[in-house]
């Protein structure tokens, strides 16, 4: 896992874990790796991992069992919401990038529909 060095790493760790959860690599109700395991696996600072996990605990996507570690929430509404937010963030990036190429919102929809049709053939 390579991180960008001009964006706070705790934010990127959060993004990474959200993806792991949404794609089912980390399952609802299951324990996630320990802080140190994650730090070694991602080659990042332990304190930075700690900060990311703290925030995710605060958001409710993770919960802590005392002395056992961090677990993924089983709250399906919250998981759905997190997935929607991830999708929205990707769409934001896409639309902004298209706009910067001078493509209007209407054109984006048209181009995307055509593109998907072409690809599906």
């Amino acid at each position: 896992m390579e991180f960008k060095d001009n964006i706070p790493i705790y934010l990127q760790i959060k993004q990474y874990l959200y993806r792991q959860i949404i794609t089912g690599k980390l399952k609802p109700g299951k324990k996630i790796p320990s802080v140190r395991e994650l730090a070694v696996q991602l080659t990042v600072n332990v304190n930075t991992v700690q900060r990311a996990l703290q925030q995710m605990n605060f958001e409710g996507i993770l919960y802590t069992k005392r002395g056992e570690g961090n677990f993924v929430t089983e709250d399906t509404t919250l998981l759905e919401k997190t997935k929607r937010e991830l999708i929205d963030a990707e769409l934001d990036k896409f639309v902004q990038s298209m706009n910067s190429l001078g493509v209007s919102d209407e054109q984006i929809l048209k181009s995307l529909t055509e593109y998907l049709k072409e690809e599906r053939k």
Binding site: F3, P8, N45
Partner: protein
Amino acid sequence: MGNPLEITDLVYKKNQKKIITDLNLTLKPGKIVALLGENGAGKTTLMRIISGVAKNYRGTVKVASFAKEADRKAHLSFTDGLTGFANSTKINDIVKFYQILYHDFSLKQFEQLRKFMNLDSDMRLSEMSKGMKEKLVIALTFSRKTDLYLLDEPFSGIDAMARKKIIKSIILWKQEKSTILVSDHFVNEIAAVLDEVVIIKNKTVCMHKSTEAIRADNQSVEEFYESFYQREEDE
């Protein structure tokens, strides 16, 4: 326990020449901090002063609140190269020496580190590459249990695999409250594991900042570090 490191108004001269001037630096517990600066900026000198190898400085240097050299040495772990040992010395013999010298040296911990680094304890210094020696230095340094660890340019002249091993060992073996000060003239390769950077320029600390604070300004740690030397080139 006080901070792992507190330096106040440090001045150091060698042959009438000022190497370090008016340097102040405080490191808090539980941090991994890079000491950055060009070659010859005084990084090694500073480490040698902190560890009590270099003497005759002015100012105060405290390690875990201790100012006396002997006390400082007991509260920090620093391997000043392996220059004191003959080329024919085996790893085993160096370990025996460390066990006698440092009561906090853990053989069990060393064995774990040695295996992690793939080092053979029967090897002699003369048979080891630069990367292997650097791995040995790290293993010896982390086998002690202290408040402060000093690593002097552990990444210079070694290959990418050895570098990864060393970085992973820093993450794996660092105790929660201990602080690591690691010098380098390059920051890219270790930026992701750092809490803070300390930049040395013009014989003193010109910047001490958290890496995540640098990134929060949409700057990479490397760009941030280079900007201090860029300004000079532009002038």
